[in-house]
């Protein structure tokens, strides 16, 4: 068991060191591989350093199947709630990643919606970007506010059934360019409730390992979307919808397609228990040449789960889902322990 790590915090000066741990056992029926690339155990190590207006943040995942520097951000705070930074980060059009990052304990469900899945977990939206980003909250009248996040940086490569973003540890995956933005309205500038819109434009380059469409050069992708994150009493809902327009540039004949994907997750808290359900779907998946590049992308999923929070920042979660990907229908049951240590 990890021990609590001491930290220091003086106004404007200090550091934070947090460990998010998780361990999972799951069973898939039929045994489709790879139905998921979720690690069986992982430690997400978050470190941030603040010196007056300078801030550094790093997030390292050490897991059963990978070790990756997920985020590394160095920047400047010109204002108490505005941060300009350079580095590797989760680009703002992926709403789930912007809220939960790799902090498994903080998200109620075990799985994340597939449209917002990590690149190496068959996500079809670029999540990791290396470049420049600005995040800011502005106060409006009567304690309401706007949150704005805008980024510009590298795109991703399209590999063998997965997107491959730039990896800072081995220097691979730097490709194309991408722009992303999120604007949200906050009814309480200090609260979590938010509703807003998402925009993105990416150039995804086909790599040598991409063999499904051999003459593919790149994909120019436009994304528009909307999100809602709302808690009222003991109920919480998180939802997002994305419309993607993909222009495939091929050595022979270029093609275009579009599809729409979204999800709704509803949660009900009863004391230390949380019951939840999520429904996800993708419209236009069968006609999309872009989605054909990702045969393991889950086009539809329905799930239910229950979570128990215990001790200080520990949780155990049981989740069952029924899903469909390029290989057909499958079901999965998973049980997971997660925790945060500071």
């Amino acid at each position: 068991m990890l021990s609590t790590i001491a930290h220091s915090a003086q106004p404007g000066k200090g550091y934070e060191l947090i460990f998010f741990g998780s361990a999972e056992a799951n069973r898939t029926d039929p045994d489709q591989l790879p139905a998921s690339n979720d690690a069986l155990a992982s430690a997400d190590i978050l470190y941030s350093l603040t010196r007056n207006r300078f801030r550094l943040l790093g997030e390292l995942i050490v897991a059963t199947e990978e070790t990756e520097l997920e985020r590394f951000q160095v920047g400047w705070l010109p204002h108490e709630t505005t941060w300009l930074f350079a580095g590797r980060y989760h680009q703002p059009t992926n709403y789930w990643a912007s809220i939960y990052h790799h902090g498994q304990y903080l998200q109620t469900s075990i799985t994340r919606p597939n449209i917002e899945g990590w690149e190496d977990d068959y996500g079809v939206l670029q999540t990791h970007q290396t470049g420049l980003m600005v995040e800011s909250n502005f106060g409006l009248r009567e304690n309401t506010g706007l949150e704005i996040a805008i980024s510009y940086g590298s795109g991703s490569e399209i590999g063998d059934g997965v997107l491959e973003p730039f990896d800072m540890l081995d220097g691979t995956g730097m490709a194309g360019a991408s722009f992303a933005a999120r604007i949200g309205f906050l009814p309480d500038i200090l609260g979590n409730n938010a509703v807003g819109v998402l925009f993105g434009k990416s150039e995804l380059e086909s790599s040598d390992s991409q063999v499904i469409i051999p003459d593919l050069v790149n994909v120019n992708q436009d994304v528009v979307g909307a999100f809602l994150n709302w808690t009222a009493g003991s109920w919480h809902m998180i939802s997002a919808a994305y419309h993607l327009q993909n222009k495939l540039d091929r050595e022979t004949l270029g093609t275009s397609d579009s599809f729409t994907a979204g999800y709704v997750q509803l949660e009900k808290s009863i004391s230390d228990w949380t019951l939840y359900g999520r429904w996800e779907n993708t419209a236009g998946a069968e006609e999309s040449d872009y989605l054909a590049l990702f045969p393991d992308y889950v086009v539809q999923r329905s799930l239910i789960g229950v979570r128990l929070d215990f001790m200080k920042q520990h949780a155990v979660t049981l989740e069952l889902f029924d899903a469909e990907n390029g290989a057909g229908d499958f079901r999965k049951i998973a049980i997971q322990w997660s925790a945060a240590f500071r």
């Binding site: 915090a9 106004p11 947090i18 978050l46 920042q313």
Partner: protein, 148 residues
């Protein structure tokens, strides 16, 4: 004379239970007596304890969490932060994960907090009014909760 002694006895008894002379307990926001901090709004207080740097009256305020008393904490979270302790801890964790924000310091005794306040004019914390005596050299800037 005997009535005076009886009144004095009950006043000391009330003080020992954290009550005011009128029998009501209070949770107050306090700073050093010679701190430049004059007033703190409810929004500023929430920002401080959510790790957002706040300057008040020309100083960068250093918020301190008081973990000396469970009931005091419960009252603070409900009255000042409008959330449970579990929700507050989760919110702090989320803000650090998302933005790298520093979390407020925690102290576990009123005596330690009073010592820090006396040494640091920028520090602020919450405590039972009855934990403060005139000799401590502190000043109340806000009443957070009054027992009904």
């Amino acid at each position: 004379m005997s009535n005076l002694r009886i009144n004095l006895f009950f006043a000391l008894l009330l003080a020992a239970t954290g009550a005011t002379a009128e029998g009501q307990r209070e949770v107050v926001l306090v700073v050093a007596a010679n701190s430049p901090i004059i007033a703190v709004s409810s929004l500023e207080l929430r920002k401080l304890y959510l790790g957002i740097p706040v300057s008040l009256d020309g100083v960068l305020v250093r918020p301190l969490r008081n973990h000396s008393d469970e009931q005091l904490q419960e009252i603070f979270f409900q009255s000042a932060m409008a959330m449970s302790e579990a929700a507050y801890e989760r919110q702090l964790l989320s803000l650090t994960l998302r933005f790298g924000r520093l979390q407020p310091e925690v102290r576990h005794s009123a005596k330690e907090l009073i010592a820090i306040l006396r040494q640091d004019n920028n520090a602020i914390t919450y405590m039972w009014r009855s934990d403060i005596s005139v000799e401590d050299g502190l000043r109340v800037v806000k009443l957070l909760w009054l027992e009904h």
